[in-house]
Symmetry: C2
């Protein structure tokens, strides 16, 4: 492998100046189309690969977007957000540099510092579960978009799932199937999802003129075991609900198990709908679990797209705080109520 070919070698081979090569490749300056084309083909034939370190240094645009998330290992959602962000970034000739804080503030600070040293053009500050967050001090002044995270007070763009809408969609589906006594297995943590989905649950009841019954709500950690216990409690009641709306698929899996233990068939004796559309569970359960999908890919995409727009935009449009729609994915866990 001879010496790396740079813009200089291309210039020599094409018989023009380096300026002309730069302009030809970037589309800048004013050059004849003929020259542009010739230079490009020469560059191609020489296998020229632009050096982004150099161009970033000079132009002050690294073409790198930093992606910082709180955890990436324990959740299958991370991948979809990353993928969405990556796809959108690639469309703008940007590439992702990812850093994971593992929920450790010090690691996060170090990671962000590394990103800034690499002079990322902007940052996607992501959470794996919808959360309210503060902007890390180091990021003030850096173009930033929140992903699956929101911050009331800041004037930054953000995208989160429409929690209330998701719950409403789920409940509408159950109510339209004929159910009126619908239990809700809610999460126990005080996070936007918990509050939003509960609001959606109540809104749906109100919308259809069904009185709210506090005793139909059971709280559970977002795991299968606790979900099973919570569901068992609701199903043990003499006036047990004919349907359960679950905070997420893992809790729903617990509800399946509780139904089994109570000898209730799904969906004949009990209908279930939940939120997540985590395919490994929803598809695997018997019968398949009808679930509301959280639009992770789309949110990732939106975040990167929005960031790219801010980076490109001379006239910086006002920040947007998006709540993204969550679609219903039908499977076999919902049927008409008994009797």
């Amino acid at each position: 492998m001879s010496k790396r070919v740079g813009i200089r070698e291309v210039a020599a081979a094409a018989g023009v100046s380096v300026t002309t090569v730069s302009h030809s490749l970037s589309g800048g300056g004013q050059l004849s189309d003929a020259t542009r084309k010739r230079v490009r083909s020469v560059a191609e034939s020489l296998n020229y690969t632009p050096n982004r370190l150099a161009s970033g240094l000079r132009s002050k645009r690294s073409q790198i977007i930093g992606f910082v998330s709180d955890e990436i290992s324990t959740t299958p959602y991370a991948g979809n957000m990353l993928l969405g962000a990556q796809d959108a970034a690639a469309a703008h000739d940007q590439v992702l540099m990812v850093v994971n804080s593992n929920r450790n503030a010090q690691l996060e600070a170090r990671g962000i510092d590394a990103l800034l040293q690499h002079r990322v053009d902007g940052i996607i500050y992501a959470r794996m579960y919808h959360q309210a967050v503060e902007l890390p001090a180091a990021l003030s002044g850096v173009p930033t978009v929140f992903l699956d995270a929101s911050n009331e007070s800041s004037d930054l763009s953000s995208v989160v799932p429409d929690e209330e809408g998701a719950a409403l969609t789920a409940m509408d589906h159950l109510i339209e199937a004929g159910h009126r006594r619908i239990g809700y297995l809610n999460n126990i943590d005080d996070i936007p999802a918990t509050r939003g989905r509960l609001a959606g649950y109540r809104a749906a009841l109100a919308k259809h003129g069904i009185p709210f019954d506090e005793s139909l709500i059971a709280l559970s950690e977002s795991m299968t075991g606790p979900g099973r216990d919570a569901a068992s409690r609701l199903l043990a009641r003499p006036d047990r609900p004919t349907a359960l709306f679950c905070f997420n698929d893992r809790i729903a899996m617990g509800a399946y198990q509780a139904a089994h233990l109570a000898r209730l068939a799904i969906p004949h004796d009990l209908s279930i709908v939940s939120i997540d559309n985590f395919e490994v569970l929803a598809d695997a359960l018997l019968p398949g679990l009808t679930s509301i999908a959280l639009p992770h890919y789309e949110m990732g995409r939106w975040a990167a797209e929005r960031l790219a727009a801010e980076l490109a935009g001379e006239a910086d449009s006002p920040p947007e705080q998006i709540r993204m729609h969550c679609p219903l994915v039908l499977r076999q866990s919902v049927g008409p109520p008994l009797r």
Copy 2:
């Protein structure tokens, strides 16, 4: 925000040359400790943030490691590999730039090109499921380590799970619990995991003097539904196995369902062990699924560590092809055989 502070500003403030600042911060050159310390504290007080674009350009070391994977969204393993790689990389002052091919050769080529434009120091070429791979042409000459992927013919380092050992561990566990008729729900694809785990299954039988019975093997796609069907076939036989070894947790979940349908209690009537230790399933199933963990985090770590060593190492040690041990994670799905 005044003008960005660079090495030059630090030099002025400390009353030394830029050379001295560079040496102070990097630890190079020969300077008095006093000067080094003083410069460092000045840099700190000025909030100096080194520009890696510039240093990379000059020193030809970007301190970036490229991470290219085939898919990242459909699997929960990706996160752990990424995390392991990131942790090890961070220890060497490197950061990860990730690119996802989505199993599309063209996208992969484009992604790799982007990484090379950014002059990554090396590349971790990862697969989400253990696979034999070819080194993309664009990567020849680039320091590369295979992660969860292997290539017989190349002289590059790689790390994969010890598939045969994993199966052996699983089978040993069942045999030591007293089982002799053990069914195997194997995957249907022709991949190293399929072959390796089958080899481990047979090796375990041989080791314990149990004759191999072809009819105890059922093939299934790596999903719950097909796993359920395959398990049902084995369990329908009059001389049904007392235990099942499953290719992965999703198939094992199918086996659980098949057992339910056949009115067999786990582990009383049927013991099950599988491979993956995919917590969302293994922990959630009732009873908990005993499973062999694939060391994704450790493999990611090893890959980044090894790459860092190659990058640092003047004397490039010969490439290593590692098969990593897979530990057994005990839960409640294994018991003694009936009667």
